[in-house]
Amino acid sequence: MIKVKNIKIKELNFFERIYIIEIIKGLIITLKHFFSNFKANIIGGKITTIRYPEEEIPILGKARLKSKHRIKLRHDGTPKCVACMLCATICPAQCIYIEADETPLPVEKYPKIFNIDLSLCVMCGLCVEACPEDAISMDSGVFEGGVYSRKQSASRGGLFYTKKELFKNLEHEKESELGASNGLIFRRD
């Protein structure tokens, strides 16, 4: 059996049907909002709006884990990346380009060129998931993506990130010792 629920619409009484009293009630509500906000704007008080470029609020929850990319560095300043190409392979937008080169360190490889074209990036975070060395991460805390040119490098105000902009540690960061082959370096120390 289908249950049928009859909803009775409340009929308007005479005073509601001539509108005028209801209009005045509505006007009182809007006037209250108007004057409380007017007071807040002129004298000062609680304004709900955050004036964004001047004011900022802390980023909520885990949202800070999907900000712009960076590559972590070791204590001696070399990148933790070993140029294994896993991030470039898994990237669905194909925005990562890596060229590997040899290094005398026990990890044997390092990226000679490491480019991320953020104008193609879809911010899926798969590169971070794939990285076996805990080198690439999306925790730089930079969210603003508005630029005037896509092709220019990030240091000139574009969206094309090269080694220069990517290889950095955050301030007061505890050095991460995770990673398969990075373990060779840290264990030997």
Partner: protein, 384 residues
């Protein structure tokens, strides 16, 4: 009494310098005419510009937002007062587009008709009592005629042609629907605007608008001003409703219906659209002025006489120039507050359905306004 023929004669003789042999007389009138026009249209147009800002600012404050405040000249924002200026520049710089299916001539003429018909009506409206410059008294009404109220309503209803043409000849279906709605709505409420003003004319027993205001300067029982809103509150409500509907603003904005059909100006861009939008705000001022003249006592300030304030036996004397200036400010203040009230109504009320609007006009307000006229006539007959 000045009839229509005389009106045309005035226009072509009084203010034309070149026809007359007595140049100095006509020159004086011409200068007077010019001063009035500059004060009137300068005031109206600049206030219309400010209204566009006020509407956005008030709506923002009602909805707990901040509103426009970023337009600046050298980091100097002036509470957002540069926004109307920025809007104007933007409108001029935009591409002026005429769709392929549109009738080019009528598409171009339509906004001109609208802006013409809302601007021309101001010549018949008084905007202050007198202005005294160097001992020379100027009556602050551009053309004073007995036909004023009928001229005003006839000329303002010319806007229907512009509204209809704008939608119909743009070759857009939404535009046609919008203009059809606009026309049927405006024709319905045209009747009510006149019918709600008729009892006022009957009560005041006056024909020129200057006389209408002078009749309101009396006091009932010595302390209640005999403004139209106190003598005829129902006529005020009817007229306000009709004015909102004529103006096609919320709660009667099915013509535009922001989220629905955009209305008759859907194909317009650039300054042509600007003309339609500006006409809407000028129309707000126009209806505020009519409401002020007929229902709020025009420039009348309670307890203010020709020689100063009078509270019982206590008198504050003032020179006449200052009193005249105060009266102009009082008129402006009333017009501004009614305009702001209309803006408040827009951001308070939900939209009516189209059939509700038309049935409200023909089944609700029109019979009531006719009953109002009859009752007023009977009462006036008995009071004589």
């Amino acid at each position: 009494m000045i009839g229509f023929n005389e009106l045309i004669k005035i226009f072509f003789t009084k203010y034309t310098v070149f026809v007359s042999p007595n140049i100095s007389y006509y020159f004086k009138h011409f200068i007077e005419f010019l001063i009035k026009m500059i004060i009137l249209y300068g005031g109206v147009l600049s206030f219309a510009g400010i209204l566009t800002l006020l509407e956005r600012k008030i709506s923002a404050l009602i909805q707990d937002r901040v509103g426009p405040e970023r337009a600046n000249i050298w980091k100097f924002t002036l509470w957002g007062l540069f926004h109307p200026l920025a809007d104007g520049i933007k409108m001029i710089m935009k591409e002026d587009f005429i769709p392929e299916k549109a009738n080019k001539i009528l598409f171009t003429i339509s906004p001109i008709i609208v802006i013409f018909s809302v601007l021309i009506v101001f010549v018949f409206l008084p905007f202050g009592n007198y202005l005294e410059i160097f001992g020379y008294k100027i009556k602050l009404i551009v053309i004073e005629t007995d036909l004023a109220i009928f001229m005003v309503i006839a000329l303002s209803s010319l806007a229907i042609y512009g509204v209809f043409g704008g939608g119909f000849f743009s070759g857009n279906t939404w535009g046609i629907i919008g203009s059809m709605r606009a026309v049927s709505q405006m024709i319905s409420y045209e009747v009510i605007t006149l019918f709600s003003l008729l009892p006022m004319l009957m009560i005041y027993n006056a024909s020129t608008l200057h006389q209408v205001i002078e009749k309101q300067t009396n006091m009932i029982f010595g302390f209640i001003p005999s403004w139209g809103i106190i003598l005829q509150p129902f006529a005020f409500i009817f007229f306000l409703t009709a004015a909102l509907c004529e103006n096609k603003r919320t709660p009667f904005d099915v013509v535009e219906g922001e989220s629905e059909i955009i209305g008759y100006f859907i194909e317009y861009s650039s300054m042509r659209f600007g003309a339609f939008m500006f006409a809407e705000y000028i129309e707000i001022i126009f209806f505020s002025m009519i409401i002020t003249i007929f229902f709020l006592g025009g420039w009348h300030i309670p307890f203010l006489h020709d020689y100063g304030f009078v509270f019982g036996s206590y008198i504050i004397k003032m020179p006449s120039q200052i009193i005249y200036l105060m009266e102009i400010v009082s008129f402006g203040f009333k017009v501004a507050s009614v305009s702001i009230f209309i803006i408040f109504l827009r951001w308070t009320l939900p939209r009516f359905r189209f059939d509700q609007i038309v049935s409200l006009a023909w089944k609700g307000i029109l019979p009531l306004s006719i009953i109002n006229i009859i009752i007023t006539a009977i009462l006036l007959r008995f009071m004589k």
